[in-house]
């Protein structure tokens, strides 16, 4: 009896041990199994594809599985139940998993994803980052340049922007098109009337406007509690304003035809002197070096500051926020082109694109699959898809009024906005032109400014060049200059210190960078 009991006990113990070991092993292999999961399905997919290729109709094939990684600017994001996403899947015959990554940490996440080797089918990547360039060179992404001509929308891609967004002259990702002359100066309209000033046409007028906003009590509450323009840790406004002064956009051609970085030009120093004056006179918020960009609009919405130098469509966002507080017919904000500087009318352009969408070789294994993925990207250029991903479903998220789009979503209806939010991040805007947003006063003004900007934008001659030095040390080099600029503005360093910082930049790799860019520039000519 006793022996028998012991035997049973032993068996139970053995069973327990085996179960435990198995569970450990299963846990280990579970991770691998998960990641290998799509593999067994792929042959079926491609099989279906090649069978259907005869009549060139992919719609008969199984839905294409796609994982798409895009930046997100909101925390309320669409999930699988979003009708917009479902509509997209139906139209393109796909089964899509969205990976939204907060924009503020997108760069980190992108680098980590690239390093992990477990890439989504499609991901938005920064063409200038070292890890993307290395990944592309070592064969992580499909080179899609030769395929583009076969697709009705993608074949319309702008060759200049394609070249700007290429790596070593090869297109590893399809660019996401952006308006070239996107910048503008958004100003509080009421305040302008109060201080009796109109559009600032020159830099002096711009300065006077800021000064008036600080000193003439534009909000009329009798207190000295306003200032001119609000700037945050994000240094974009400084970059834009220094171009007004005649400093080149990142790189400019010197008298000898060689490219010179912007911070080594005399115009750059002129601009910095002006910035310092703004800071010393309190026309810009004193805590700009530590302020979080996420609350950039707040001082303007709350009536502490009156000017924002950024993209022109920021005017629409500020006005939207102010309308939420107190709705009225007339917009609160007006938007203008850059003021004319000593070197003429100049403004900073965008690169014409914001990052590229790359197709990974680890997830998209065969050329047939690649073609289906490209077909998907091509379809995103169709009017239907541009409308769907940009504005949602007609009757639900927007309605058409006289050929214009009138959004039905309001910021309060979070659930409705959520269905659509962030979906436009996968759009390339390569394809036919779609209907426009309803022409409110402010939309019209934004359009005008952006169209007029195309005449005055200053392009960066080094835009298409991929520098080895920059890929490795770019961030460090940029920091030296960006920090020195901020220190100069707040008075931590003087002209001497600025020169020292530039000397440090040159000795830390800047000289090599200049030499390399000039060499590449010569070769590209």
């Amino acid at each position: 009896m006793n022996v028998k009991v012991l035997g049973v006990k032993r068996k139970i113990a053995l069973l327990c041990a085996v179960v435990m070991m198995l569970s450990v092993l299963a846990a280990c292999s579970g991770g691998n199994g998960g990641s290998n999961d799509p593999a067994p399905q792929e042959p079926a997919n491609t099989g279906g594809q090649s069978a259907g290729e005869g009549n060139a109709n992919a719609a008969q094939a199984e839905p294409l599985e796609l994982t798409i990684m895009v930046p997100a600017f909101s925390t309320e994001l669409p999930d699988g139940s979003s009708p917009v996403l479902q509509e997209l899947e139906k139209y393109t015959n796909t089964d899509i998993t969205m990976q939204f990554v907060p924009n503020s940490s997108y760069g980190d996440k992108m680098n980590i994803t690239l390093a992990s080797g477990q890439l989504p089918h499609l991901m938005v990547v920064d063409r200038n980052s070292a890890s993307y360039i290395n990944a592309a060179r070592t064969g992580a992404f499909w080179e899609i340049g030769p395929y583009l001509q076969d697709y009705p929308n993608l074949s319309q891609a702008n060759p200049i922007i394609l070249n700007n967004s290429s790596v070593d002259g090869k297109t590893y990702g399809i660019y996401r098109g952006r308006t070239l002359g996107r910048m503008g100066v958004s100003i509080n309209k009421d305040w302008m009337e109060k201080v009796g000033l109109s559009e600032p046409k020159t830099i002096d007028e711009f300065y006077n406007l800021l000064k008036a906003f600080k000193e003439q009590d534009p909000d009329g509450n009798g207190k000295d509690d306003t200032y001119g323009t609000v700037i945050t840790k994000y240094a974009g406004p400084w970059d834009i304003m220094q171009v007004w002064f005649g400093a080149p956009n990142k790189w400019g051609e010197g008298a000898d035809g060689k490219l010179v970085p912007t911070h080594m030009t005399p115009e750059y120093k002129e601009a910095l002197k002006f910035f310092k004056k703004l800071y010393d006179e309190g026309l810009v918020n004193s805590d700009f070096a530590v302020m979080d960009p996420a609350v950039w609009l707040d001082p303007i919405v709350n009536g502490q500051a009156g000017v924002m130098v950024d993209v022109a469509d920021a005017a629409r966002r500020i006005d939207g926020r102010m309308q939420e507080k107190a709705e009225r017919e007339e917009p609160y904000i007006d938007v203008f082109q850059a003021p004319v500087g000593p070197k003429g009318h100049r403004d900073m352009p965008t690169s014409g694109y914001a990052n590229v969408i790359a197709i990974s070789k680890s997830a998209v294994k065969t050329e047939e699959e690649l073609k289906r993925v490209l077909e998907f990207l091509d379809k995103l250029g169709d009017v239907e898809m541009q409308m769907l991903l940009g504005y949602g479903i007609e009757g639900r998220h927007y309605e058409m009024v006289d050929g214009y789009i009138k959004p039905l979503t309001t910021p309060e209806d979070v659930a409705l906005v959520k269905e659509l939010e962030g979906m436009n991040q996968m759009l390339t805007f390569i394809g036919p032109v779609t209907p426009q947003l309803e022409m409110t006063v402010i939309n019209e003004k934004v359009m005008q400014v952006q169209t007029a900007n195309e005449e005055i934008v200053v392009s960066n001659p080094a835009e298409p060049l991929v520098s080895e030095v920059y890929a490795q040390k770019g961030q460090q080099l940029d920091n030296i200059i960006a920090d020195a600029r901020i220190k100069y503005i707040v008075g931590q360093i003087d002209d001497n210190g600025l020169d020292q910082a530039i000397a440090l930049w040159r000795s830390s790799g800047g000289d090599d960078y200049i030499a390399e860019i000039n060499k590449l520039y010569e070769e590209a000519k």
Partner: protein
């Protein structure tokens, strides 16, 4: 604690002895022992596998510090560069600055923050009304549960020159505003103050536990001998908890070069970067944002080696001075 600490070496010695005595027989005795306790060893197995798979296996990853690692070429095919990454790092002008910043912050931390929980615990220990003691204890350790991100945002709201509450108070009193957030001179005090505010209360818990175990009779004897409060603290309480203090100090020294990444990262800006850059943020900066994986691994490895040296060194020192070490 003592018994568990000592049982390891003791058992090993015993095992050695018994092994020696049966060396003559055909079967080494450890096989017999394993056989006898085999089910216990099986129970041990999951733990062992866990450490092997999740701790020891990934450790080989540090080898990329000696490579020029490219993720898509892979671990096996990346170019082997030997000590080049280390040479570059030590020759880099940033190295001296990083070492200086890291070191100064670590010393500040040790001098100002490390004693703080001990002092608070001693003060709490003197409170005889239990309700008040518990209340204060809870109040001081609540900040521990607040995320560093929130602490950094709160610091901004209080100290910004554009209407920060504390800065306005400073302005009312002195007539000028102090740029706490951007002034490099304020960076280190700010970091230490944040840490003290957030972690002091939490740190007291372990000392309070040690204090609770002090023999009450010793206090009574001290009172009979005419010792006042301070003398009792000095001659009874402190010696009783000194071993806990030493062990925590040794553990702290092992992490000497860890400054706490997110705190520093959140408090860094263009104006204080010269004093704010430390190894932790630098590794993030070159590794994650610039994709220089090998280089940043080399830096991390260097940091770990310094940590090991400090642990061994301080443990050795503690034993020299007659204290019980960590092991």
């Amino acid at each position: 604690m003592d018994s568990t600490l000592q049982s390891g070496p003791d058992a090993a010695v015993k095992a050695k002895k018994s092994k020696a005595t049966v060396l003559g027989s055909q079967r080494p005795s450890w096989i017999g022992k394993v056989k006898k306790d085999r089910w216990l060893y099986v129970l041990l197995l999951p733990g062992l596998i866990y450490f092997l798979v999740f701790k020891y296996l990934p450790m080989w990853g540090v080898l990329i510090a000696f490579q020029n690692f490219q993720p898509f070429v892979g671990f096996w095919n990346s170019e082997w560069v030997g000590l080049e990454n280390f040479r570059n790092f030590f020759a880099n002008p940033d190295f001296v600055r990083l070492l200086r910043n890291t070191f100064i912050l670590a010393v500040y931390d040790l001098v100002f923050f490390f004693p703080a929980p001990i002092i608070v615990a001693l003060l709490l220990n003197e409170i005889r009304v239990n309700v008040i003691k518990r209340f204060i204890q809870t109040m001081v350790y609540v900040p521990h549960f607040i995320s560093m991100v929130i602490v950094a945002s709160m610091t901004y709201v209080f100290l910004t020159t554009q209407g920060g509450v504390l800065n306005e108070a400073v302005f009312q009193i002195t007539g000028r505003r102090i740029d706490f957030l951007a002034d490099p001179d304020w960076f280190r005090p700010l970091i230490i103050l944040q840490i003290m505010w957030k972690e002091t209360g939490w740190g007291t818990i372990i000392f309070l536990a040690a204090l609770a175990s002090v023999d009450v009779e010793q206090y009574e004897a001290a009172v009979v001998d005419g010792a006042n409060r301070f003398q009792r603290l000095w001659h009874v309480t402190l010696p009783a908890i000194s071993s806990v203090i030493v062990i925590l100090l040794i553990l702290r020294l092992g992490n000497f070069l860890d400054n706490g990444f997110e705190q520093i990262f959140l408090m860094t800006n263009s104006l204080n970067r010269t004093v704010a850059d430390v190894f932790d943020t630098y590794v993030y900066f070159v590794g994650i944002t610039q994709g220089a994986f090998s280089y940043s691994t080399a830096i991390g490895l260097f940091k770990s080696i310094v940590g090991i040296v400090l642990i061994y060194g301080s443990n050795w020192l503690a034993k020299r001075f007659g204290q019980e070490g960590l092991y």
